[in-house]
């Protein structure tokens, strides 16, 4: 199996799906001639031409709506948001048009569209360029929300998302683009709504997604040195949430830490906790502890930014807390 970067795995998914289905097209700022602001769409313009790889003006609300209109009549647009921070301008088209079209039309008109791009923080991009909005989109019925952590999942889930008949919010990560990993070739379709145990362990469950999977795996290694076996459950899909896999793990470990990059209030972790405290009430030997981004706008300064982010040390401390070791 070849080893690819997360970026190239996404590129491969786009390439294969555009080859497979002529109705699939890519639209967004700098996706064509510039080969993508983060090079995810490198080579696609050359391969498919300007009709199917469409560079746009800076007008997120407009081109998100154009994507929805095209999806309403049967095309399968992939709309790139240069980053999910800029998608706030387009959120009316995602939430009021795409998410509701099938329901409002009594089932007549669906919206098979994928909105994709990097979310969350990178390094010192400041308050307006560092936000993670998974919990916002996962709040909305009619949307599916996917946040892959590895190159293999990135390819498999993007292929599944493009073939899905519902609007999908697909959140990548600038800090993940260079991550390397083995990626199955060809028809590698990862099911939507299915979490993945990335590391087995019996002592504590670390629920995570996207970048926080890397954090959780590092924490798990450190915990292992202290003789604690952590099970790392990568949600992969935020909505629909695979509560069974999480419950199965917590049923085994009886202790849980939820790790996410975003802000705490009503974040993805709050929903995971809500499910666990109800459906695993008798299984939990300790309250679920969350590790999140600091509840502040992202500062520019390097040291402050580091302090604002979830990291392995905080996860290790949280794990020890639910094990009553600290």
């Amino acid at each position: 199996m070849p080893t690819l970067t997360y970026r190239d795995a996404l590129n491969e998914a786009l390439l294969e799906e555009m080859q497979r289905d002529p109705d699939v097209f890519l639209m967004g700022e700098e996706v064509g001639e510039y080969d993508g602001a983060y090079k995810v769409s490198r080579g696609l313009l050359k391969q498919f031409g300007p009709k199917r790889v469409v560079d746009t003006p800076i007008a997120e609300l407009g081109f998100a709506g154009i994507g929805v209109g095209a999806a309403m009549v049967g095309l399968r647009p992939v709309i790139e948001m240069m980053t999910w921070n800029f998608a706030l301008l387009a959120i009316d088209q995602i939430v009021n048009s795409a998410a509701k079209m099938r329901y409002m039309s009594g089932g007549q008109i669906g919206c098979p569209i994928v909105f994709r791009g990097p979310g969350g923080s990178a390094l010192q991009l400041g308050a307006q360029h560092s936000q993670a909005f998974e919990s916002w989109y996962a709040h909305v019925p009619g949307l599916k929300v996917i946040a892959p952590a590895t190159p293999a999942d990135a390819k498999g889930l993007l292929k599944s998302a493009i073939r899905d008949d519902d609007p999908v919010v697909f959140i990548e990560g600038e800090m993940l683009y260079n991550l390397k990993g083995e990626v199955p070739e060809g028809e590698h379709l990862t099911p939507i709504g299915v979490a993945d145990v990335k590391r087995e362990g019996g002592d504590v469950t670390l629920v995570c997604h996207s970048k926080s999977v890397t954090i959780a795996l590092k924490a798990a290694d450190q915990l292992a040195e202290a003789g604690i076996q952590a099970e790392v459950v990568d949600l992969r899909t935020i909505r629909p949430l695979d509560t069974d896999t999480v419950l199965r793990s917590v049923g085994k470990t009886h202790r849980c830490v939820v790790v996410e990059e975003g802000w705490p209030f009503a974040g993805v972790g709050a929903q995971v906790v809500d499910v666990l405290q109800r459906d695993a009430f008798d299984e939990l030997d300790a309250p679920v502890v969350r590790v999140t981004g600091a509840d502040v706008p992202m500062p520019y300064n390097k040291a402050l930014e580091k302090a604002a982010k979830a990291d392995p040390a905080q996860v290790v401390a949280a794990a020890k807390r639910v094990l009553y070791l600290e």
Binding site: F25, K51, R52, V54, T56, P57, A59, L61, G62, F63, A64, G65, I66, G67, V68, G69, A70, A71, M72, V73, G74, L75, D92, Q93, N96, S97, M101, R102, Y103, M104, S105, G106, G107, Q108, I109, G110, P112, P141, G142, K144, D164, D165, D166
Partner: protein
Amino acid sequence: MAGSATKPSKAKKAAPAASAEECHHWLRQMMLIRHFEEKAGEAYSLGKIGGFCHLYIGQEAVGVGCIASLRPDDYITCSYREHGHALARGMSARSVMAELFGKATGCSGGKGGSMHLFDAERGFLGGHGIVGGHIPLTAGTAFAAKYRGTDQVSACFFGEAAVNIGAFHEALNMASLWKLPAIFVCENNGYGMGTALARASAIMDISHRAYSYAMDTEAVDGQDVLAVKAAMDRAVARARTDSMPTLLEMRTYRYVGHSMSDAAHGTYRTKEEVETFRQRDPIKVLAEYMKAGGMIDNAGIAAMDEEVVAEVADALQFAEESPDPPPEALTRDVYAEPR
């Protein structure tokens, strides 16, 4: 009052010829819409229709004239004020009234309501509730037609207040930049709810907004269905053959309040103003044109009126007797059925 609507200016072009048969069809459609809306208003007051309900009384010529110019496989998206467009597109009075009543037999299964009428087979891609929100959708369906190489065109209907919102600006710039086969029809009825045009836009000539996008444009007498049809024909041809978009400003007027919860006059416009504009009632304008051309007489008009009254009465009864959607409809169509 704050300022009345832009005076409807005569279309620059000579009154275009239209066949007697076409005129009959349009007159009947406008009368059907007028009567349908009057009855819908009554049903609303009787509590049979809930929520918001925006009537199309006074603007019938725009919907009828424009949609008459479209092919069955063209695409249409509208704002929430779209009962007339739905009927003009051929959706049955039954299916529209049943939707207003929230019934399972409604065109959106009772889950859309007055503001969200859909009919996929007729390319009627909705009523939409966010001002200007459907303008990019039209650019999207036009993009799809061009992408597929069909010569379908896409028509968008929105009010004059929508030209001041970001979605209008972004969509028209891209529609022109990518030469999309779309016709953007602005129904300038003078008011956005209680706000007269002069209090919302820095320019009164809305058609001039097209210059920012190097887009063809025309201001049209929206009360004259023949003028509307002729202008739309030009725009449709431009879209269908040259794949070029057009902004049409239809100067029209609504004789009723913004919605059922807004008075027809007395707050932001006077009774006199409404009466003045009623002089050029689109139904009267066409009827007089037809009578002058010997296409119809008062008896014919009366007969036509009886037909539409019957059709609407049937629709009301159908809606009344139709069942509600079943309880499980609540959770249906949130997502596609898994394949």
